[in-house]
């Protein structure tokens, strides 16, 4: 019984982490789906979202505003605005001028952007870890104290629900709205879409903005859940999210969700039953295996090489 409860507890831990990976993974998957490049700097945009949220929360606290819904809302809005602007600016500065060149060129540009943003925040805010207030505290327990109580915190529930809402909203948006249809058209054939009168530049910008906004949401949630931010934490989270995107099939939004959850659970089971030291080995190993044996991922469509 206790072992089973332990398993479920690790499962919950894994699903929580996994759903935030999924939120970040959306940014990778949408951009890849449309212009076929890995936006290496996406992890940094997530990190900037977390920093902005923290700045907003601290600012509100200084002003004496502590009513939770207001604080959360303002932090969310600030983070989303700054991250989306960053996403937009990064695309304009580093990716648009090199679009359509040799595949390596946008990728190197993206790596450069990632290094730049990391050090930008490092220089502006210092390299120290800064504590992030846990705004949503508490939780409930199943089972009694003398066996192994299964505990689920409210923040875990919040993360899970927010992810579901964002995913559903995004899927509906892509499926129903005019911009969403244009997105799908552009991702199928950029040249053709532009011939048909779709402003492809605007659609590509929109993709970056949407991805960045979701990353900002993840930044706020994870900041509260983990408890601290530092300029380097976006990079590894970005890699994990990218792994999730590839795992689920890059270009596919439900795939990102699935990939994120699988990756989160795999990590948490590795730490739970093996050792935390090998967590990263397992996720990178998983990535390598998937790319080698099923490069299209679990839900992806095979890509036809265009000549």
């Amino acid at each position: 019984m206790q072992d089973l409860l332990y398993f479920f507890q690790q499962l919950i831990n894994g699903l929580t982490i996994g759903s935030t990976y999924a939120l970040i993974a959306i940014g990778y998957t949408m951009v890849y789906g449309i212009i076929g490049m890995i936006n290496f700097a996406h992890g940094e945009i997530y990190m900037i979202g977390a920093y902005t949220a923290l700045i907003a929360i601290t600012g509100l606290a200084t002003l004496g505003i502590t009513w939770l819904p207001i604080v959360l809302l303002v932090a969310l809005i600030c983070a989303v605005i700054v991250s989306s602007s960053m996403g937009w600016a990064v695309e304009r500065v580093a990716y648009r001028p090199v679009r359509g060149r040799h595949r390596l060129i946008p990728l190197i540009s993206a790596i450069g952007m990632s290094i730049f943003l990391q050090n930008y925040v490092h220089l502006a805010q210092g390299s120290r870890n800064i504590g992030f207030p846990a705004l949503i505290e508490g939780g409930f327990q199943l089972g009694s104290e003398d066996t192994f109580p299964l505990s689920i915190s409210y923040i875990q529930i919040t993360i899970f629900i927010t992810t579901l809402i964002c995913m559903t909203a995004l899927s509906t948006f892509i499926a129903r709205s005019r911009t969403g249809r244009a997105c799908r058209a552009v991702s199928q054939d950029l040249g053709m879409a532009s011939l048909l009168g779709i402003d492809t530049n605007r659609i590509i910008s929109a993709t970056f903005v949407i991805g960045a906004a979701l990353a900002a949401v993840a930044g706020l949630l994870l900041g509260m859940y983990y408890g601290s931010v530092d300029p380097l934490f976006g990079f590894i989270a970005g890699l994990k999210a990218f792994t999730a995107a590839v795992l689920g099939g890059i270009g596919s939004i439900p795939g990102a969700m699935l990939g994120g959850l699988i990756l989160g659970v795999a990590e948490s089971m590795t730490s739970g039953y093996l050792s935390g030291e090998y967590k990263d080995v397992v996720s990178f190993g998983l990535l390598i295996l998937i790319l080698l044996f099923k490069p299209t991922g679990l839900l992806g469509k095979p890509e036809v090489e265009k000549i």
């Binding site: 206790q2 332990y6 507890q9 690790q10 831990n13 894994g14 929580t16 982490i17 390299s127 120290r128 870890n129 800064i130 504590g131 207030p133 846990a134 505290e137 939780g139 327990q141 192994f148 109580p149 505990s151 915190s153 923040i155 994870l222 983990y226 408890g227 601290s228 530092d230 380097l232 934490f233 590894i236 990590e267 948490s268 590795t270 730490s271 739970g272 050792s275 935390g276 030291e277 967590k279 990263d280």
Partner: protein, 370 residues
């Protein structure tokens, strides 16, 4: 083309060396190497504050054998690669006595060079036993070893009579070294070690680890490593209602832990060198620091001060600035410093170095644990 850049570098290097040589008439150079930049720069600040104060005060009292001490400060960013470059530049500058380095991983490769070149080195902060284990007769320190701090913590834990203990470390030289020492001592005392596990430094998600600790149902968790990770572990453990007592080495005992863990830091146990700045005999020194706007309470400020003083006293005692003679003097004498009376054993370690267990509070203050 290749040449011209190198030549430029050389020209700059030599001109600096020449300038230094010009004024080298009656002074003793003390090299101070530690991180001015990089992730642990805040510890480097403590080191430089301590050495600057020591050199200033010794010079004010007439210097060493009538000669002035002059600091040669260099930045190694706690990076082993830069530490080697710094060590070579110290040799260049004709430095014979070095206070440094700070991190064990950069001290070790640098000490190879100092030993080869016959330079006396006193590290005020590197605690890895490996540094003095290699029979280098010119390497000393003014800080305890992981193998002293670990047992101090383990003895405290064992005295509380716990049933089970978990040990976690960050897989870095410092953290794993102390954690291993704690484990060995506890095992000798027959305490049940429920888990001994590494984490990834820089990680943020410890929910799985916390669940594991909770299942292991331990009374004490010892963490070997630095504050960013322990802060998060504490917070996530409180969130999951883990009621074990946490304990860590001096690497976790700073403001950072309070900022990250907040309320969860209450009751954390930390082994620290005794608060030297609180000692009655150091009151005047503490005021001198306060006058300069420096904080003497950091764990490495007064050890760095003591390192300079030990070198100065050693030179006086040997009546020579030859590093080998000074090294012999250090091994034979006893020295009164702000961190207490220092006597060295054959390896260059202090005969004894006391660690005190403090209890940390949510507001960042600490009291001696009972």
């Amino acid at each position: 083309m290749k040449m011209s850049v190198k030549k430029l570098a050389t020209a700059v290097g030599t001109s600096v060396a020449l300038m230094a040589a010009g004024q080298a008439a009656a002074e003793i150079k003390i090299g101070v190497a530690g991180p001015m930049t990089g992730p642990v720069a805040q510890y480097g600040d403590m080191q430089f504050a301590g050495t600057r104060m020591a050199i200033e005060r010794i010079n004010a009292q007439g210097g060493v054998m009538g000669e002035e001490l002059v600091a040669v400060e260099m930045d190694d960013a706690c990076d082993p690669k830069q530490a080697v470059t710094v060590a070579n530049r110290m040799v260049n500058e004709g430095v014979k006595f070095v206070v440094g380095h700070l991190c064990s991983s950069s001290t070790q490769p640098a000490s190879d060079i100092y030993y080869d070149e016959g330079i006396l080195m006193v590290t005020p902060a590197a605690t890895s036993p490996a540094i003095t284990e290699r029979g280098y007769d010119t390497v000393f320190r003014t800080i305890g070893l992981d193998s002293m701090q670990g047992p101090a913590a383990a003895n405290y834990i064992a005295a509380q009579g716990p049933e089970r203990v978990a040990i976690v470390h960050d897989k870095q030289q410092y953290g794993e070294g102390i954690a291993t020492a704690v484990r060995d001592t506890l095992e000798d005392k027959g305490v049940d070690i429920a888990m001994f596990e590494g984490i990834t430094a820089g990680d943020k998600d410890f929910s799985s680890l916390v669940t594991k600790i909770k299942q292991a149902d331990v009374d004490y968790v010892y963490y070997g490593g630095y504050h960013p990770e322990l802060g998060l572990i504490l917070r996530q453990a409180r969130q999951a209602n883990v009621d074990a007592t946490f304990m860590g080495p001096e690497g976790v005992g700073n403001d950072g832990i309070t900022s990250i863990a907040g309320e969860a830091a209450e009751g954390l146990l930390v082994t620290l060198p005794p608060a030297f700045d609180q000692k009655a005999e150091n009151q005047e020194l503490a005021e001198a620091f306060a006058e300069k706007g420096e904080d003497p309470s950091g764990p490495f400020v007064l050890t760095s001060y003591a390192a300079v003083q030990v070198i100065a006293d050693g030179i006086e005692m040997a009546e020579s600035t030859d590093p080998f003679e000074v090294a012999d003097a250090l091994r034979s004498g006893t020295f009164e410093t702000p961190i207490g009376t220092i006597e060295y054993d054959e390896d260059g370690d202090m005969e004894s170095f006391e660690f005190v267990v403090y209890e940390w509070h949510a507001d960042g203050s600490k009291t001696v644990a009972k």
